[in-house]
């Protein structure tokens, strides 16, 4: 019997597969395709203090082995999410990770204080790494001092564990990881998208209306694996790995790198059944490599 379960701060996961924030909305569309109870957890679309339209279109561009997006955190704001999305999510027996974003430090605190009241939310994912907004986002997540400060404020406001989602667009990811750990983070999620760009040869102009966007998909997987591996050896808090996961084998690679669980992002767009397929394939992959649980795989690449 293969044990897929993972126990993390605030998150009792029946398996390590969590659809990534921004790639799954609030689950409604995917609930038309499969039973969301199959999932280890769900990282819901970012909640911001106010309603946000986001960036102009085009917001999407395909790339070799991946895609660029510049959505710009479109959502109806935390109050709407509290009233309309969370009550609907309450029907599922799968823990919800609330991604929190804002343009100021106070904004993060405001969203967290409101979400504290929802029993549906089991933990927060502090989004200090969105590359597609002018304020907040990656501006905070690429500087250890600023990252630590907003993490400390978030942890003080939060009545649930706080996972900090880090940006890969930095020189020393481990320094940021250590800074947010010291500031009180209960866990890390890494990585967010890599800043990228495409130019239309016919017009000579960027394809995305926002000019630049976040690169995701299998193209970024080796970067993500490397960063999880670096951070796992630098901190003592659990890591949720994310970046280009397509198959159960990729999950195992992230576990070996030091992740305790994973998020699946852009693959949900290419194959809407990606998460349940990975979950059903995972036991056989673990067996193939002589494992009987997810837990024993975590960190194998560097553990003595």
């Amino acid at each position: 019997m293969i044990d897929l379960s993972v126990s993390l701060p605030g998150l009792e996961l029946k398996n390590p597969i969590i659809p990534a924030s921004g790639c799954f909305g609030f689950g409604r569309e995917f609930a038309e395709l499969y039973d969301l109870n199959l999932l280890g957890g769900i990282a819901i679309k970012s909640a911001t203090p106010e309603d946000r339209f986001g960036n102009p279109t085009p917001r999407i561009a395909e790339t070799p082995a991946g895609m660029l997006n510049a959505i710009g955190l479109q959502n109806h704001g935390v109050d709407y999410i509290m009233d309309h999305e969370l009550p609907w999510l309450a029907q599922f027996d799968t823990p919800i990770l609330a991604n929190v974003a804002a343009s100021t430090e106070e904004g993060y605190v405001e969203v967290i204080r409101k979400l504290n009241a929802s029993p549906v939310i089991k933990a927060y994912e502090l989004n200090i790494s969105c590359p597609n907004v002018k304020h907040g986002g990656a501006a905070l997540g690429t500087n250890p001092e600023l990252a630590a400060r907003v993490t400390r404020m978030a942890c003080e406001a939060a009545e649930k564990p706080v996972y900090v989602k880090l940006s890969p667009n930095v020189t020393d990811i481990a320094a940021i990881a250590k800074a947010v750990e010291a500031a009180g983070a209960d866990g890390l999620v890494l990585i967010n998208t890599l800043l990228g760009m495409r130019i239309d040869l016919r017009t000579g102009k960027p394809v995305l209306a926002n000019q630049t966007g976040g690169l995701s998909g299998p193209a970024i997987r080796p970067v993500a694996v490397r960063m999880v591996w670096q951070c796992a050896q630098a901190v003592n808090i659990p890591i949720i790995g994310v970046g280009g996961i397509e198959r159960a084998e990729d999950v195992l690679e992230f576990l070996y790198a030091g992740a305790s669980a994973v998020e699946v992002g852009a693959r949900n767009f290419a194959d809407p059944y990606a998460c349940p397929k990975i979950i059903s394939a995972l036991p056989d992959v673990l067996t193939k490599y002589g494992l009987t649980s997810v837990r024993e795989a975590t960190g194998r690449s560097f553990r003595k």
Partner: protein, 242 residues
């Protein structure tokens, strides 16, 4: 809405850079006119959203233009090969209780063919005004005529039908227009929406195709937004800001 492996029955060029792919699948039974499917093209990360040209019991017909590397690769796929489809997706055109005028531009014309078929089958009269850049990219005229539509053609260079836009052709041919169902390039849709009432079908770069990623949104006059893939691609004229 589901994924389905479909065997290619044929995949042939029907006009300059425009191909028709016929697929063996029972997805067609679930399709309403104006909906689209997402086609997984081997070697490309995202699926290609392609509107349904015709839906049959055991087949789907898609017409697409080579717009980039992905659709170019799609055009090289051979009969007998299998592709993965996801669909049907989106809202589709409503089946109104009246005669309609279809207005199509370029590769916006194909979804209007299934639409014409359904209106004619229900006993309504359908006029189709189709605009193209030139005669070499003129598609779907013969089959719309065979279905029983009155077809009016416009080409920008005058190489077929009336010279000018679809609106020029409507004026010159004195086509009576009440309710329009339109699909085509944005400038055409803007011009149509400024003059008539009815429904338009939009396109945009999209990722998920089901309304989850917020990649293809468009604003509404009241400051809200709609997802082209899920709430559209067909919208009532005036519902969204063009």
């Amino acid at each position: 809405m589901r994924t389905a492996a479909a065997v290619i029955v044929s995949n042939e060029m029907i006009a300059r850079d425009i191909y028709r792919m016929v697929l063996k699948t029972d997805l067609g039974q679930e399709v309403t006119c104006g909906q689209f499917v997402q086609v997984a093209v081997p070697g490309y990360f995202l699926r290609r959203p392609i509107s349904v040209h015709r839906a049959y019991e055991d087949k789907l017909s898609l017409i697409y233009r080579i717009a980039g590397d992905g659709t170019r690769t799609m055009s090289t796929l051979k009969a007998g090969e299998t592709v993965d489809l996801f669909g049907p997706l989106g809202s589709g055109f409503p089946l109104l209780d009246e005669d309609v005028t279809l207005i199509g531009g370029g590769v916006g014309v194909p979804p209007l063919v299934e639409t014409a078929f359904r209106y004619i089958q229900a006993g309504y009269r359908v006029t189709a005004v189709l605009g193209f850049s030139d005669k070499d990219v003129l598609i779907c005229r013969d089959e719309l005529e065979e279905l029983g539509c009155q077809v009016v053609i416009a080409t920008m260079d005058g190489s077929a039908g009336y010279q000018g836009t679809v609106l020029d052709a409507i004026e010159q041919a004195d086509v009576p227009v009440k309710t329009v169902l339109a699909c085509g390039p944005l400038p055409m849709l803007k011009a149509v929406a400024a003059r008539y009432d009815g429904y338009i079908s939009l396109e945009e770069r999209m990722a998920c195709g089901i309304g989850a990623c917020m990649g293809c949104v468009i604003r509404t006059p009241d400051g809200d937004s709609r997802r082209i893939c899920k709430d559209g691609p067909v919208f009532r004229i005036g519902e969204v800001e063009l």
